[in-house]
Symmetry: C2
Subunit: 591 residues, 2 copies
Amino acid sequence: MLEKVAKYLPILNWIKAYNSETLASDLVASVIVTIMLIPQSLAYALLAGLPPQIGLYASILPLVVYALFGTSRSLAVGPVAILSLMTAAAAGKIAATGTVEYIEAAVILAFLSGLILLILGMLRMGFLANFLSHPVVSGFITASGILIAASQLKHILGIRTEGHTLIEIIVSLGEKIDQVNVPTFAIGISSLLLLFFIRSHLKSLLVALGLPDKVAVIISRAGPVFAVVASIFAVSAFSLNDVGVSILGDIPRDLPEIGLPAFDQDIWLQLVGSAGLISLIGFVESVSVGQTLAAKRRQRIDPNQELIGLGVANLAAGISAGYPVTGGLARSAVNFDAGAETPAAGAFTAIGIAVATIFLTPFLYFLPQAVLAATIIVAVLSLVDLHAIKNVWAYSKHDFTAMIATIIVTLVFGVELGITAGVMLSLVLHLYNTSRPHFAIVGRVPGTQHFRNIHRHQVITSDRVSTIRVDESLYFANARFLEETIYNLVAEMSAIEHLVLMCPAVNHIDASALESLEHINHVLRDAGISLHLSEVKGPVMDKLEGTSFLKGLTGKIYLHQYEAIGDLDRNCIDRPLESARMEPSPFHHSC
Amino acid sequence: MLEKVAKYLPILNWIKAYNSETLASDLVASVIVTIMLIPQSLAYALLAGLPPQIGLYASILPLVVYALFGTSRSLAVGPVAILSLMTAAAAGKIAATGTVEYIEAAVILAFLSGLILLILGMLRMGFLANFLSHPVVSGFITASGILIAASQLKHILGIRTEGHTLIEIIVSLGEKIDQVNVPTFAIGISSLLLLFFIRSHLKSLLVALGLPDKVAVIISRAGPVFAVVASIFAVSAFSLNDVGVSILGDIPRDLPEIGLPAFDQDIWLQLVGSAGLISLIGFVESVSVGQTLAAKRRQRIDPNQELIGLGVANLAAGISAGYPVTGGLARSAVNFDAGAETPAAGAFTAIGIAVATIFLTPFLYFLPQAVLAATIIVAVLSLVDLHAIKNVWAYSKHDFTAMIATIIVTLVFGVELGITAGVMLSLVLHLYNTSRPHFAIVGRVPGTQHFRNIHRHQVITSDRVSTIRVDESLYFANARFLEETIYNLVAEMSAIEHLVLMCPAVNHIDASALESLEHINHVLRDAGISLHLSEVKGPVMDKLEGTSFLKGLTGKIYLHQYEAIGDLDRNCIDRPLESARMEPSPFHHSC
């Protein structure tokens, strides 16, 4: 009984071994993550077009809940850049940024996304994430990074622009470029420079000064905090908010109220598709991060339980005025490096954010939005991975096509169409690939019992017996192609009496392909050719048993190809040197 | 030059050999098909909810045009039952049956469908039809047959009902069952009985009377003509139209006017999806019939040129007030049996229908709609193939799921959703299948160089060297599954030093799977296990060359598995009896 509960409540697995040492590690990590998360949650709320407190709210209850249900020991759940961008795109379809309806839509997105993740987790459908190919995810993240960076330029320049796609953003920037606010721009550009310096040089500087490597990493990752503190002092000291610098202003000091989001069937139905995409992307991001970190400590995470963990975390966001959350890459890495040992670190972080919400927000009054925008830009530009694009191009043109389509559609038409197009295209290309399988006429490699392509290897063949190896599972998309190929190949073989279909690469034969095989058998029979199969796999053979195809088959089924050729054309194997030696035999002949 | 033109104008290939003998054969066949097509085209127009002359118009110009562009020598193009049903479903979304807008929509459907087929043909995308699996097509045809038969019951009963789905039709029939017109019902039921008798017994009766088999077949196929003639006499003799029997009435004796259908962007956009489905189904039906008949005479058809042929035929229907056409199964079989040798037979049939439109229509004035409905019911019930359902159930539960879903969705939600659901589901099931591939730990079959599953065969294995055969192409949908499976399998092998991944069934490795392989290599390296590959196919190896995976691979690539095991654990092969004999060797051992 307890085991069954523990399966759904992973906290029961680690709480028993919890002691003062683990507590100390978790507390240290949580303090560091809290310091990092405060500016992050404000910045990502800004990116999502939401009031800053929504970002804080999304960093309290969801973290506590994930600590109960999640399996990753180091994942730091909370708002992330890409989900913030997707939330903006989805909520923007419902209402204008800044309206009550817009905020409500973001909260509903979290709730719906939580429901979807939870249901998928209960149904153990974590495998769905596998349908996002690496190049598509990588292309989507790169394009989102560019899109997010572009969308933040308005805050750096101190102008108001609109748009969810790169073209809209660029056009809008171009129209308003004459309205640049100079003090804002000065703050923005100097924050950008500072943050880029911190990211690229601070760590080596600190190490050179004698700090341990790990501490240096954590301090440089917490870089945005310096920019935040410095800019607050600068703005308040020189009253820069009076010369047009947008500041964060008053943030309500209350903790979020708990309650279900307002139900309106039309709006929920409009948002459910977007919530599905947000769930999928959030899950893939979280699982990738979680698996990478878990592998480093030889731990494992359970993708289906992660669905449940992220599901309840998002439900928690949905009932506490937050917006969609997931495990963040940079933040989780800091959590891991800072020594977090259990999900309790996340719960402690939540307490930290709650305390900050009540006591720290007045000090953030003068924080310029330009600084938050700068932290976002620096963070997301590290997501842009041009190297991956080059690698995929070199390896596979099909994968590259899916990747570049994802990037272009995301940039030009927005995030939702981008990821949808990428997934669809990668599936279609895969199906197209398998619908035109590779076929090889094979012969025996001399001195072995092994058969390879006659065009690639020097092999022994027979005129009376031809062997065609089909390099794909046989299913509806290639059944007709199979027929055509075999008829065409056989038409060129005048002396053929036996055709052997060699099936080591045939992993399934579906009903359509079975019909085609039956048809091939009849056509070959009429032409005086026997059809044989060799190296049919166990699971495939099990299904073929008892079918009318097998009953009407003119030839035999051979366990292996060497047996087939020995039976059908003894001349091809009866040689004195046919031992199991690996050296090529001295005679290469056609028998 | 001429060859290139001939590729797109197949008539140039057969017109040279045309002589008085071919002409005679074609003329005979065309007369028989004309006699069969007159009631058919009227009945199918009725089924599509169109005036009878639209059916005749669809049987004139399209046939002439197909004769120029089609590659099938015996295909009889014209209105068919399933496309008529689909036309009714699509046009019914635009306007009420019987209105001018409804008729216009049917004409636009033909035009759009022609455009789509033509473009697909130009782009040589005939392979698209392969994505309709046999069970889905078979299920769709069965469900359509039931739907069509049900929709015609109102004409047999002499009542007016509505609805495009089985439930709507049944409910509507139930509501109006008290309004049955007895004379109509008498005509309907007696036509049904007569036609069933003709279909099932006339042929053997005629053969018993001494007629040649072929003639008997053709006469019995032309059965509806007897019912038509007899009922016309009965209705006109007893003035049954005055007691509520619906008759065909006046049919315009003009030939269709030629002109583009009215253009209205909204309506065309609303119809383009339906036109796509009509194109796909029409193409699949036509190609199946065409290929079957061509194979009987050892001829071949070119699917891409067929797309062009059917495309121009439908364009012709669209500019001559017709509606979507394709090659019909029963009619083409009659054409073939009657001896049609070239597509010219179709052109002669067109002349026959044109002559009938001008001179014969007055005689059809008294033709009762109930008789036409009876011919439809008898024709479509032969499409219902319950045997196929049973066969698919026995062979594959996945295929059966796709088939039964197609049937149920078609019956309950209509033809368009039905075929869409079937195609989607069969693709999803196929992807799901390949996302959880079969893995086998293999050992050597004693006395051979062949390796098979340790759980299915008595084989020789090594403790130090394990070989896992992965039975699927490696791509994004199973990349993560591959990693998990290998980690789990390796975790159970304590003495393992070498892992060989045997790849005879791996036909592609995409970028996602390559990343996973690289990851597996690193994880195994850290665990002190070398990773080797064996029997990698040529095309896969070509792509792997130069990748960082191959550079970092801890083990080797072996051409065949026997070589791998010989290199990694010599004990497993060095036995005196290792000859190439097929007999199992006397010792089965684990080395």
